[in-house]
């Protein structure tokens, strides 16, 4: 799958991933928003290290691991943004949209006031987004039920994203 790097730069992609993740967090784990920026920075600096943090069995620790959901959402959001970029890439060129970045932002409900509403994704496209999110969630080790929940939250955020 191509992420259309020529039209979606890495900073743009990261920014979109953050936006999608924040949007999902607002409904799934709003308490984590308090440290979202720090968490996202740590994730982008070492994604695998954050996701696969080893159990250190700390001396005088509690002995039970409790992880933030944010890094997992960021990890799942990344291929979703890349998929969306692929999906909208052609439309952007055909319809003369200013950028893939802006198009996806509007799909996520971040539309600037006064700008035209984007065409919503088709049901098939949404299903594909959910499928990619689910597969990615499973790949990074989320339990089945949590991966399902996360995929639903992401797909739901895109399809019913409120305008701001």
């Amino acid at each position: 799958m191509s992420s259309y790097p020529e039209i979606l730069t890495q900073p743009d992609e990261d920014a979109l991933v953050r936006e999608l993740a924040q949007q999902v967090l607002e409904t799934t784990a709003p308490e984590e928003l308090a440290i979202f920026d720090v968490t996202a920075e740590e994730y982008f600096a070492d994604p695998q290290g954050v996701l696969d943090a080893k159990n250190r069995d700390e001396a005088v620790g509690f002995g039970v691991e409790l992880a933030l959901i944010t890094p997992y959402i960021l990890a799942v959001a990344k291929p979703v943004i890349q998929l969306l970029a692929t999906m909208v890439g052609d439309a952007v060129q055909k319809e003369g949209q200013p950028s893939v970045n802006g198009f996806i932002r509007r799909l996520l409900g971040r539309r600037e006031p006064g700008s035209p509403a984007p065409d919503p994704l088709t049901h098939d496209q949404l299903a594909l987004v959910r499928k990619v999110a689910l597969e990615r969630g499973q790949l990074i080790g989320l339990k089945e039920d949590r991966a399902e929940l996360l995929a639903d939250a992401i797909a739901g955020g895109i399809s019913v994203a409120p305008t701001t």
């Binding site: 440290i35 954050v50 943090a53 005088v60 409790l66």
Partner: protein, 788 residues
């Protein structure tokens, strides 16, 4: 005596819903930790000695020792023992300065280890903050900080620890820092949810660690271990660098085994502390429920295989089980016991080597290490078994005999392996460090047997715990167990060393002289009196209130089944009187001793008779009352031995001997130490499935069994008198019994001390070649023994 001495009550069936308070007594993990620290520090002695031997100081030492040997006064072929010993003393005096320097180097190794570990401990918090990217909570997470402070105040901490939050990679909370500046590091997932279900149980658990000083325990053990890995690697690195690997075959495996055991010990201690922290932090039902739910839903799988042994945390499922059934926490494990035995075993000879090095300190070579290590064994093994005994009063279970077997097996195995594995044995000609590979069995068996005695004492004390506070019960447990272990360690290590260096001849001499020293007699007598006092307290079926969480149910009131039945005094008197009658019979049949040698032989044999009477009384109690018998046997040994000795005094007077207070005082306790050592060894029989004081035994049966065993022991000792104390050349000189104890025995004791001094000096001179060592043994040990 009307007061029942031993309760025969079977375990009281506990009503449903009774929850034992296992934290009412301090956990034995603190003593295990001190034992670990002691063992780690003692290996610094080896490092210091190694540095000494590898530097110019070692060359100077060797030159001095050789020079002193060269200056050894010439001893004529038919010299007396005194002349040989005087020559040896001259050599020891000559080398005193060099030996003192060697000892200072050894102690310097300990100091270096301590300082390095202290420095590491001090900088560890900074390293942790940096490596784990910890940061203060900040205004965004102020709620978490405030909640931690509130929980700390609620749990009675004088000062709330600092609270920090880690990076996204931190998933488990932990505590660190130094006393007065502790900190709790929270994973961000917890810090952002200060009102979540996980926050309170998790933070309370960490606060319990802080309050119980687990932080210091964990990190100091780790710091010491890191330092010792470095220090103990030095001989290997230097050896390889200088292409001199002569030390490696005997050193590398010992160092590796020791460091491995230290890891296991540390992990075992920390796992135990986790259980304690769970219970301490969840003392109410709602808290237990919250913690149990958190642990149950953690999703962490079970640890298996070797990882289980080195894991710092038990599996969550085990923790939940322990929360629900805290009585299980009181069960000591064989692995923990084995590691404790191992650590004690590797430490003892290292400590002894310091005192053996300096001639003027060799008199302490067995006593000081035993006094240092014995209490740790007592507080480790004794406290664990006594805690189980009293907890079982509340739970109505009867696992103490099985636990005692498990712990004794662990102690035996650990102590057995530890002796050859000690760094003190590096450089010796044999793997075990002794000439006979069987000798390490002596100490291991004695400690294994002592474990049963301690468990029996715990059972007896638990029967009477209703009359004791938790502190009183704990203090009694530590005092009795520590003293007993210290005594057995002292006696067993001395006899092992004696057997190793001087064979049977030196050992039999030691039994009737060094082992009968007034201090040893006083210690055994004090133990016997303390146990007698304990036995005199009326047993009670009901558990003490302090071992039950909340109010004890009404149904746990005494039901009158504590009949109590055994009078240990009857057994002791029967065994002692039977032994004395055997002496009388022998005297009547054999007539008076006509030579000094015969008198000596009889006195020596009678010491064995006194000890045998004690052994007989103790064995009778074990056979009839199982574990409780092993505990009560401690008193019976002393009473029976004293009774037999008193009988001998009366017989001596009846046949015209003088009766003086000094004589009586010297004779009465003479068989106590050896009797107790034999009893400790024989207490291994308590591992057999004897009934544990269930059902009353008829008094006549007790008396008959004890008298029979006492008579057999006495007859055996008298019959074996030629083996115990072979007759030497006949002289016309005659001594009275009074002369024996006032002049002859002290002289022999002094001579024997010199022999032990020589033995210790030879033992620690690892630089000597085998042939040189053999020559010194012949000259300094065998020769004096032969001319005696």
């Amino acid at each position: 005596m009307s007061v029942p001495l031993v309760s025969d009550a079977p375990p009281f069936p506990a009503p449903a819903g009774v929850r034992p308070n296992v934290l009412a007594m301090p956990s034995s993990t603190v003593a295990r930790f001190v034992l670990l620290i002691g063992a780690l520090l003692s290996s610094g002695l080896f490092v210091g000695t190694w540095v000494h031997n590898r530097t110019a100081a070692g060359d100077v030492w060797l030159a001095r020792v050789i020079e002193c040997e060269r200056l050894r006064p010439t001893v004529p072929l038919k010299a007396s023992a005194e002349e040989i010993l005087a020559a040896q003393q001259s050599v020891l005096r000559c080398s005193e300065g060099a030996q003192q320097k060697l000892a200072w180097f050894a102690l310097g190794g300990v100091a270096l280890t301590l300082v390095a570990a202290g420095v590491l401990l001090a900088i560890v918090p900074m390293i942790i903050v940096r490596r784990r990217a910890l940061r203060p909570l900040g205004p965004q997470l102020a709620a978490a900080s405030e909640r931690v402070a509130a929980l700390a105040a609620e749990d009675g901490l004088r000062r709330a620890p600092d609270t920090m939050v880690g990076s996204s990679k931190l998933r488990d909370a932990f505590s660190f820092g130094l006393p007065g500046r502790y900190a709790v590091a929270l994973p961000p997932a917890v810090a952002v949810r200060s009102t979540g279900a996980a926050f309170d149980p998790l933070v309370r658990h960490e606060l319990a660690h802080v309050a119980r000083r687990d932080v210091l325990i964990a990190w100091s053990a780790r710091a010491l271990w890191y330092v010792l890995v470095t220090l103990l690697a030095l001989p290997v690195i230097v050896g390889l660098a200088r292409a001199d690997v002569s030390i490696l075959p005997s050193y590398a495996w010992r160092a590796a085994l020791f460091l491995g055991a230290a890891i296991l010990a540390s992990a075992g201690i920390l796992r135990s502390r986790e259980y304690d922290a769970d219970l301490d932090s969840a003392q109410t039902s709602p808290r237990r429920e919250a913690l149990g739910t958190l642990l149950s839903t953690s999703g962490r799988g079970a640890t298996t295989g070797w990882r289980r042994l080195v894991a710092l945390h038990p599996d969550p499922s085990e923790r939940v089980t322990m929360l629900e059934n805290p009585g299980l926490l009181a069960r000591p494990s064989a692995v923990d016991a084995a590691i404790a035995g191992f650590l004690a075993s590797v430490t003892l000879p290292l400590l002894a080597s310091v005192f053996a090095t300096v001639p003027s300190l060799t008199v302490w070579v067995y006593a000081v290490p035993a006094v240092l290590v014995g209490p740790l064994m007592g507080a480790t093994v004794g406290l664990a078994l006594w805690r189980l005994a009293v907890v079982e009063m509340a739970t109505g279970t009867a696992r103490l005999p099985a636990a005692a077997r498990r712990v004794a097996a662990g102690i035996f195995a650990g102590f057995l392996v530890g002796q050859p594995a000690s760094l003190a044995a590096v450089g010796s000609d044999t793997i075990t460090g002794t000439r006979s590979p069987l000798l390490p069995l002596v100490g291991a068996l004695a400690l294994g047997g002592t474990t049963f005695v301690v468990a029996g004492l715990g059972r007896i004390a638990a029967d009477r715990s209703k009359h004791l506070s938790a502190r009183g019960y704990t203090t009694t447990a530590i005092f009795l167990s520590s003293t007993l272990f210290a005594f057995v360690l002292w006696a067993a290590t001395m006899l092992t060393s004696t057997l190793d260096l001087g064979g049977w001849a030196l050992t039999t001499l030691t039994v009737v002289t060094l082992l009968t020293q007034p201090v040893a007699v006083a210690v055994v007598a004090a133990l016997a009196v303390a146990v007698l006092v304990l036995l005199a307290v009326r047993p009670d079926d009901a558990p003490p209130t302090w071992v039950i969480e909340g109010d004890p149910p009404a149904s746990m009131a005494p039901d009158g089944r504590s009949r109590g039945l055994l009078d240990a005094t009857a057994v002791a008197l029967a065994a002692g009187i039977a032994a004395a009658l055997c002496i009388l019979a022998f005297r009547l049949v054999a007539g008076p001793a006509t030579t000094f040698e015969q008198q000596t032989q009889r006195f020596d044999a009678y010491v064995w008779v006194f000890a045998g009477a004690g052994l007989a009384a103790g064995l009778s109690l074990i056979g009839l009352y199982g574990l409780r018998g092993a505990g009560a046997g401690l008193t019976a040994v002393a009473l029976a031995s004293g009774t037999a000795a008193l009988g001998f005094v009366l017989i001596n007077v009846a046949f015209g001997g003088n009766l003086t207070l000094e004589f009586v005082g010297a004779i009465l306790g003479r068989g106590l130490p050896f009797g107790l050592l034999l009893f400790a060894l024989a207490s291994l029989l308590a591992s057999l499935p004897f009934p544990d004081a269930r059902g009353r035994r008829p008094l006549w049966l007790l008396v008959v069994v004890a008298a029979l065993l006492g008579g057999m022991a006495a007859t055996g000792a008298i019959a074996a008198r030629d083996t115990i104390s072979p007759l030497q050349q006949t002289t016309t000189e005659k001594l009275s019994a009074h002369d024996y104890v006032s002049s002859y025995a002290p002289t022999v004791v002094a001579s024997l001390s010199s022999l032990h001094q020589a033995a210790a000096a030879i033992d620690t001179a690892v630089q000597l070649s085998p042939s040189e060592r053999a020559r010194r043994i012949r000259a300094e040990l065998v020769a004096p023994l032969n001319v005696r």
